[in-house]
């Protein structure tokens, strides 16, 4: 069994996708020669050449728009936006075109675009390097949005995203790029649209995605010592959400805590809470609790741990929900 970092597994996913499908292209800022600021595209240009793996000027709107045009020409662009906030200049292209084009042309052209975005905080980054943009994308009809939490699942989700005929935003938790997981890489298994139960439990369900999954697992371990049996769900597919898992876990545990880094208001946690209320109202023993970033801009590095949901805050919320 090999040990993979998430960065390495993502690199391998790109490598394998490029090998399997000659229509796959990888491009973005600094993805070629330098191999990307997180090394996720390392070695790809050397292997597949400058025609298929290439650097672009600093033009996020131009890059996203070019991806749309490439789809019309029958290519499958896998595009990197260098950091979360640097996907915002491409917002018009993503919302108006990437998300809507398939409908506009009545399915004659697949928008088989994968938009990789190193996202979320936790690396003591500069401002604009710690944003959690999932609300913007998950609210946009026509897109799919995923966020892996571990190396093997990152490989799987990225392969599935690239193979998907619809546009998929892949939010890669940059704080977990160097996290490790052992096992065989595989692209089959739980698909886009499916959540994963990572730990079973009966008293409360903790739901998270990306880098928060690790914190939620840590929290579940602590809670176990207090005889609170916490189930852990990695949502991974943020759009579409896995209604079946939401419903089942809410019914079975009656108590849910949803955790994310993004600001609370209109965060994806609100959607999770609203759906759970719709799907399992009569089984809820307590209101769905949200442990989230605050309704403030992402703070400077020295304050980020006060901003991010901590194991303490998660455990507290779980205790309250259980005691409700």
């Amino acid at each position: 069994m090999t040990e993979w970092t998430m960065s390495g597994a993502l690199n391998r996913a790109l490598y394998d996708a490029l090998a399997e499908d000659p229509r796959v292209l990888v491009f973005g800022e600094d993805v070629g020669r330098s191999g990307g600021v997180f090394r996720v595209t390392d070695g790809l240009q050397a292997e597949y050449g400058e025609a298929r793996v290439f650097d672009t000027p600093i033009s996020e709107a131009g890059i996203a728009g070019a991806a749309v045009g490439l789809c019309f020409a029958g290519w499958r662009p896998v595009v990197e936006m260098q950091f979360d906030a640097f996907s915002y200049p491409a917002m018009e292209q993503v919302v108006d075109h990437v998300a809507k084009m398939r409908m506009r042309v009545r399915g004659r052209v697949d928008m088989s675009i994968t938009l990789r975005i190193p996202a979320f905080g936790g690396i003591k980054g500069k401002e604009h390097h710690g944003e959690s943009p999932e609300t913007y994308y998950a609210h946009t009809a026509g897109l799919k949005v995923v966020a892996p939490s571990s190396a093997l699942d990152a490989y799987r989700l990225l392969r599935q995203a690239i193979a998907d005929p619809d546009p998929v935003i892949v939010l890669e938790p940059k704080a977990r790029y160097w996290s490790k997981e052992s096992g065989e890489l595989a692209s089959d298994g739980p698909g886009i649209g499916n959540a994963r139960v990572l730990r079973d439990g009966e008293n409360v369900t903790l739901m998270a995605w990306g880098a928060m999954v690790a914190r939620v697992l840590d929290s579940a371990a602590i809670l176990a010592d207090e005889a609170i049996s916490a189930r852990v769900v990695d949502l991974r597919s943020l759009s579409p959400l896995d209604d079946a898992v939401l419903e089942r876990c809410a019914r079975e545990t009656g108590r849910v805590v949803v955790v994310h880094e993004a600001p609370r208001s209109v965060g994806l946690g609100a959607e999770v809470a609203a759906r759970i209320m719709e799907l399992a109202f009569d089984h809820l023993q307590a209101p769905v609790a949200r442990v989230t970033g605050w309704d403030t801009p992402y703070p400077p590095a020295s304050l980020e741990q006060l901003y991010l949901p901590s194991v303490e805050r998660i455990c507290d919320a779980a205790r309250k929900v259980v005691a409700y």
């Binding site: 131009g62 070019a66 749309v68 045009g69 490439l70 019309f72 108006d96 084009m101 619809d166 649209g193």
Partner: protein, 353 residues
């Protein structure tokens, strides 16, 4: 014929026919008399249909409609130069280009009828992209498409249309820069029709649009956009250049929007009638017709036949448009994803009852 653009010709636009139709340059642009007559036929057809569309809108058969009267030479002259496999990325005002490309007019007009967004026609079959409303956003699409074509070893050229107002958007710039640095097989065709809704082009930019090209490392040329021969020649040269692998050209065709921005717009709020009258006097169709007749390439009978054909065509399109029903409600759901999520299926059921 040289295929170098008349680059650096300067602020004075390249012109072959004077406004009165008399030749001031070499009128041999490589078209046969039959093709020259085709140019007139398309222009007459386009104008007739444009006016029909305004009428259809007034009668409630179309939603807001953006007319292009006055821009027939710019559109027809450029579109006529395209090869079969060249691909067009239009704005919302290129109906004449669509006609020349063979796009079905009734299908095209479903956009303005409010029955489908974007491309009811098949953009890959017609090689005419979906109608694009967000200003300048089609330009990066064109750049990507051009790149994709080149990667496939095709010698097809990608043609992007846009207006003077569009050149102020970041997307124009990003696409132009990509075109230049990647030396893409692409023509950037600007119809400078003097206005962007209520903003005259003099307040849109202090520069000359054709001059922007140099900053991106490729040639720019300004042509008289009401001179169909000049437009055709400039486009043909730019296409050749791109086909040869020498990269993009920016063409600025100086023309004029005779009508309002759209049927929802009242142009008298912001511009003088006198300006419009002057523009009418420089009518691109009259100019070319007069030359065509004088040069003996067509006679009055041909002109009359064009007009009759245009009337018949307009009537046929009118009938087709009026007959177009609203699309099935389920299409609102069915085309969003190739692989739709179950939750959307449930919403579909909820909506369709």
């Amino acid at each position: 014929m040289s295929d170098e653009p008349e680059h650096g010709a300067g602020t004075e636009p390249v012109r072959i026919l004077a406004p009165d139709g008399s030749p001031v340059g070499d009128a041999d642009v490589g078209l046969s008399p039959e093709e020259l007559r085709e140019l007139l036929r398309w222009m007459v057809l386009a104008r007739r249909l444009d006016r029909e569309c305004v009428a259809l809108q007034r009668q409630g058969e179309l939603t807001v409609y953006p007319g292009f009267e006055g821009q027939e030479a710019a559109q027809v002259g450029s579109a006529f130069a395209l090869g079969q496999l060249d691909f067009v990325w239009p704005t919302f005002r290129e109906l004449a280009v669509a006609l020349v490309r063979g796009v079905d007019a009734v299908q095209y007009l479903q956009y303005h009828r409010g029955t489908w967004h974007g491309g009811p026609y098949d953009p890959r079959a017609t090689r005419f992209g979906p109608i694009c409303i967000p200003i300048a956003t089609q330009l990066p699409h064109a750049a990507g498409y051009a790149l994709g074509q080149r990667l496939d070893g095709s010698d097809a050229v990608t043609m992007a249309y846009f207006g003077d107002g569009s050149t102020s958007e970041g997307d124009f710039h990003e696409a132009a820069n990509l075109a230049g640095v990647w030396r893409l097989p692409m023509v950037l065709f600007c119809q400078n029709n003097g206005w962007a809704i209520s903003l005259p082009s003099s307040e849109q930019t202090a520069g000359e649009i054709w001059r922007r090209a140099e900053g991106y490392g490729f040639p720019g040329v300004r042509v008289d956009g009401n001179d169909v021969l000049a437009v055709h020649r400039a486009t043909a040269r730019a296409l050749e250049r791109a086909r040869r692998g020498d990269g993009p050209t920016l063409i600025e065709a100086m023309t004029y929007r005779i009508g309002a921005h759209s049927t929802a717009d009242d142009a008298t709020r912001y511009r003088d009638d006198a300006e419009v009258e002057r523009a009418r006097a420089a009518d691109p169709i009259a100019r070319f017709r007069s030359w065509l007749l004088a040069a003996g390439h067509a006679d009055d009978r041909f002109v009359t036949a064009c007009e009759e054909q245009a009337d018949a065509f307009a009537l046929e399109v009118r009938t087709g448009v009026i007959a177009t029903p609203a699309p099935p409600a389920e299409w609102m759901f069915d085309w969003v994803y190739a692989d739709p999520p179950p939750s959307l299926g449930r919403q579909r059921d909820e909506a369709l009852g």
